[in-house]
Amino acid sequence: MLRTVPWVALLSAMPLLASIAPPSAWVPARWNSTDSKSLDLLAGTPINCLLLTTYTPEFVTGAAARGIATLAVLKPGADPADPARKAVRAGLQGIVLEGDFPAGTAARVRDTLADAHATVVELTSRARMPLGGPDPIVGTYQGVWPGIQVLDNGAAKAAPSGSPWIDTNTGFIRSVRAWGPASVWLGYLPPAHTVITGERYLAAIADAEMAGARWIVALDDDFSARLEHGDAAAVRNWRGMAQVLQFFEGHAEWRTLRSYGKLAVVQDHDDALLSGGILDMIAAKHTPMRAIPGQRLTPDSLQGATMAVDVDASALTPEQREMLKNFARAGGTVLTAPPGWKGQSALQPDQITLDKAELDRLNDIWHDVQTMTGRKNLGARLFNVSSMLSNVLSSDDGKQVVVELVNYSAYPIEDVSVQVLGVFKHAHLITPEGVQKDLEVYVTDEGGTGVDIDRVSACATVRLD
């Protein structure tokens, strides 16, 4: 509560707070060092918000002087109200409640800090995320570590398409973002006891950013220590991460674009929480799609779509079922999962991926989805992208289309072809490495627009006008 916060402390911090971005623009990272010199590493990066487990007044002041917000990370176990007040008194911009606190805790802490205008970010399990609420940031501590899934024998695990299976959070993020405009933070950590290459960090950043969310940058202990000691390879990897972050954060307009996908996937909230589900399977086929939570299904949400997959008809209201019928009457194709298809077993609190039984069940509907979509161009078709995922977005008037590509392999991919629905006269390639060049556009066999990209390293974006 403000009355417990010394005014002097707040007033002294005021001039510095003025340069700090609003929470919706925060680009977060976990920060273990309390040495103010470590802040030098953030120079030239878009990271402007640090999550701290420990802090010193000097560090907090130093961060604020650079326009960097600081948040204290509080975990379940003790009442967070007191440490929250203490953090705000120390000049931090707010706190992060990381973990599953007893119900009502976040509201109570917010109330405690209300007068200080401090920010409270909740990083809950996926199932407890307060979706559709007023918070400027919603987050979870859960996530899959993005990358090509490798089997025990070292080979890449094949997806149903015969391509390598890519672990991704993008399907989940798409579902969460469909609930509202809040910034989405993913706070999962690098896997323990694993050698993590620089490319994997780039994939973690790009996986979230491509879908419009932010991964809370977190380095493994080895990387962190090497970076602190100025190890050349670590510094190079860190700069690469900053480059990819800047690539996405420097194009904030991409977050405001809507899906160009003509395929709508209507899915119950619980199903959407899991990675590796129907959204990720469709994404692996590079079929542009829009995720619509069943609870958010409206005629507007289906505007421009030509196909819809109703993953769980029983979860829809009679009015919503009627909407899908009207969609079909207007010429749309609707694929409805068979009754009783959905799994009956309750999700475990720590479950974020489908178990084998659910995957087997999903295969039936997946086969139907593949049959329905076939080789149709539902916004864009991409080729030579088996180790990539993509996101195809457009402006409201459809005059500009943006195709984002993220490469999850450790190797650059050469000769990627993109065939977009619609006629566009200009195409421009942008990459984190600073490539900015016009691409030759050609008319595809189906009358759309084609472009060829020579090489994609970590990620690339093509803008078509």
């Binding site: 094949a158 015969g162 000769d415």
Partner: protein, 376 residues
């Protein structure tokens, strides 16, 4: 054959071509070998020289429709170390483009690239794009370039039936896409590789991929072809667990061995007997050893730096096997045919050609000079 005898044989092969041998009854034609360290070299010039060494491309393709069976085995999404498939287990697109260019220059009327694309009946052009190939460049390489996916009916109205002259080993005839019939010249463009089932996969084994999965695939229709196949051919052809669609000729003896190491070599020999190959081109510039694709455990990338071309598939494959460091007449149980029949000898027995190195005129680089041992 001892190692010493083997080295003596490959060194003396051109000189000993008149000596009598076990493959005498079958034809033997010249085989050209060229060194080519990388795809960045002038692949077109290398190929042109080889074709000249074989008597010139004009006489083979002028005014003709040429069908070129590519080797693009397995899903293009599966990669070896993330590398483009052309430098591992597919033929390289530069070689394909160079071939089209030279054939166009030599007066070919139409150049049709074909392959039974893995688990799909979609356009071959899309399969090529998924492999990272520039289809527009290939189309521009020569006049009359076209593509066909032979994994199903494709652009044809009916399947073409190819009877095995004199009767087949496993099937009396095979039903294939029309492209293999509607052509004047048939070319097999293969990769220099080992094969888990057949020991080596060269110009002849490449033709196993002519079999449409619509008829011979694991999800082929029981009575009629399934024109949208989504599987490979393992259950049906490798292991004989089920029969092809009844629309095609049935297996001669369903009680014969179901062992892949027996079945696949015999089927391949049948196929090259029924659909003769007029020209073979083998890409050994960069490849893999230990198997035919990334799904085989233990494979590794190799750079033999060699190209081969010939006018008889048995002879060409014999020389290619020798370049890989193998005895092309090796018996079952010896490398590389450890667990399989020797396809080359089966084809020789069919009268397709001779696998006897002493009868084959090797032109360009001698075998010993091009040898790259796939096994130490």
């Amino acid at each position: 054959m001892t190692r010493r005898e083997w080295i003596a044989l490959i060194s003396a092969a051109p000189l000993l071509k008149a000596a009598p041998g076990p493959g005498d009854a079958a034809p033997a034609t010249p085989v050209a070998i060229a060194k080519c360290a990388s795809y960045d070299e002038d692949v077109t010039a290398r190929l042109a020289t080889m074709f000249d060494q074989l008597g010139g491309l004009d006489r083979i393709v002028r005014g003709k429709t040429v069908t070129i069976k590519l080797n693009m085995t397995g899903s293009p999404g599966l990669r070896v170390d993330g590398r483009p498939p052309g430098v591992t287990h597919y033929v390289h697109p530069k070689l394909v483009g160079a071939t089209a260019h030279l054939m166009g220059q030599a007066g070919a009327r139409r150049i049709r690239f074909v392959e039974s694309a893995w688990a799909t009946s979609g356009p071959l052009e899309e399969y090529l794009l998924d492999s990272g190939w520039n289809v527009r460049q290939l189309l521009a390489a020569a006049p009359g370039v076209e593509f066909e996916n032979t994994n199903a009916l494709g652009k044809g109205r009916q399947y073409a039936r190819f009877k095995v002259p004199g009767g087949g080993y496993l099937f009396p005839a095979y039903d294939l896409n029309h492209a293999y019939e509607d052509t004047d010249v048939f070319v097999s463009m293969a990769k220099l590789k080992n094969h888990a089932t057949c020991g080596v996969t060269l110009s002849m084994k490449n033709c196993f991929g002519m079999l449409p999965a619509s008829i011979y695939g694991d999800d082929a229709g029981v009575d009629a072809p399934n024109e949208n196949p989504t599987s490979g051919r393992s259950n049906t052809m490798h292991e004989g667990r089920r029969q092809p669609s009844r629309s095609a000729p049935a297996e001669l003896d369903p009680r014969s061995s179901r062992e892949p190491g027996y079945r696949v070599p015999h089927i391949v020999a049948d196929l090259v007997k029924s659909r003769p190959i007029d020209l073979e081109i083998i890409d050994g510039v960069e490849s893999i050893a230990g198997g035919e694709g990334p799904w085989i455990k233990g494979i590794h990338r190799v750079q033999p730096g060699v190209l081969l071309a010939g006018l008889n598939p048995v002879s060409t494959d014999a020389v290619a096997a020798a370049v890989m460091g193998y005895d092309p007449r090796a018996a079952r149980g010896t490398p590389p045919f450890r667990t399989c029949e020797n396809t080359l000898l089966l084809a020789e027995r069919h009268g397709v050609g001779s696998a006897d190195l002493r009868r084959i005129d090797v032109r360009g680089v001698p075998i010993a000079g091009a040898m790259f041992r796939y096994e130490s």
